[in-house]
Amino acid sequence: MAKEVILLDFWPSMFGMRTRIALREKGVDFEYRDEDLRDKSPLLLQMNPVHKKIPVLIHNGKPVCESAIQVQYIDEVWSHKNPILPSDPYQKAQARFWVDYIDKKMYEAQRKVYASKGEEQETGKKEFIEILKTLESELGDKPYFGGDDFGYVDIGLIGFYTWFPGYEKFGNISIEAECPKLIAWAKRCMQRESVAKSLPDSEKVTEFMAMLRKKFGVE
């Protein structure tokens, strides 16, 4: 049964985490395969020839690429429980907008926070905090981005939380001081089994970030 769904992933990837969470939300049995990105498997190269990137979701032998697309696919195929996207078209559009925002803005900005120095890092830190504040403002006083229920935008963002201690350490920032509501939201998400099971230890992620810093020559 597990062979039906295979996830090619890399353990610290905040994008891979999205797909892991979505699969667990739906109770889908899957085989998790961790890729060595310096030595990509033939299967990865065959299943994502265009980008050669993880995560790749393979369902009955057919690949789905791009984490946001995978989460929507999972929601549509396993539609029997725990809906991830809202059913109302306008709410759905808002959810898609915010995951698109995260996709467009978060990755570049967060990279600068821990993997750059000097002027570039300072600019990166400002941008990053601004992005988090925009997200926090969108969250408002709701328990989750979609309202009362855990959903698409929560899944889209929560993976970055495991990288927060690293941003704080290497970027010399305090995310809790800047965005307390967002931290409260993250802790709330971590209570969810699908999230707790899908996210790695923050400490391990921070170690990984330290290794990347050396690789990028900023350490």
Partner: protein, 225 residues
């Protein structure tokens, strides 16, 4: 179709591929809409209020409620008015369509912009890179009339960016980025698109469009010498 009065307004820009693709979708669905041409250099209060995050067109206002980002808008249109479906119904086919739409916007568009925005060696490199990406699109078209299959679909609408923006820029830039010998399928697909009334109606008129591109390039002084 809904009987209540539907107010659909599009904040757009006549020469923008992202704005035009929304017009294609609305027209395919036979939806009446009000088009409001936006001045990007001097953004209107309505635009800033409707898309405070990105401050960009297109923005669709449906009964006053704003939706931003063209791909999000296209899916919203398909979700709200379910006749003449733009996206495939099957979840797998839908995932593939979404993948290719992103590919056009995040890969082809970004690389093609460098063809227009750079000169000399950097431009040559951008042309090479764009062609490599287009080869993937070329492969997708083999044996198909449209990227969506037998008829126009989501990816075709998004990829009008290639057919009527990238390929039109060739004339102005003086570089054949998409030569017919290298990309016979893409050229065949463009002809198929031009046979579709909605497309003919919704793309910017060629003469005016070329003048516009020329004027922008002149102001950037980036035409090939």
């Amino acid at each position: 179709m809904a009987e209540r009065s539907e107010e659909v307004k599009l904040l757009g820009m006549w020469a923008s591929p992202f704005s035009r693709r929304v017009e294609i979708a609305l027209t395919l669905k036979g939806l009446p809409y009000e088009f409001s041409e936006q001045d990007i250099a001097n953004k209107s209060p309505l635009l800033l209020q409707s898309n405070p995050v990105h401050k960009m067109i297109p923005v669709l206002l449906h009964n006053g409620k704003p939706i931003s980002e063209s791909l999000v808008i296209l899916e919203y249109i398909d979700d709200t008015w379910q006749h003449n479906q733009i996206l495939p119904q099957d979840p797998y086919d839908k995932a593939i369509a979404r993948f290719w739409a992103r590919f056009v916007d995040e890969q082809i568009y970004v690389t093609a912009m460098k063809v227009v925005g750079k000169v000399g060696e950097e431009r040559d490199a951008a042309v090479e890179a764009t062609r490599d990406l287009l080869k993937l699109m070329e492969k997708e078209l083999v044996g198909k009339d449209f990227l969506g299959g037998e008829s126009l679909g989501f990816v075709d609408i998004v990829a009008t960016l290639v057919a009527f923006w990238l390929m039109r820029t060739e004339e102005v830039v003086g570089v054949k980025v998409v030569p017919v010998e290298m990309f016979p399928e893409i050229h065949r697909w463009v002809k198929n698109l031009l046979d579709v009334d909605v497309i003919k109606k919704c793309i910017p008129p060629e003469g005016e469009h070329l003048n516009y591109i020329r004027a922008r390039m002149d102001s950037l002084k980036l035409k090939s010498v």
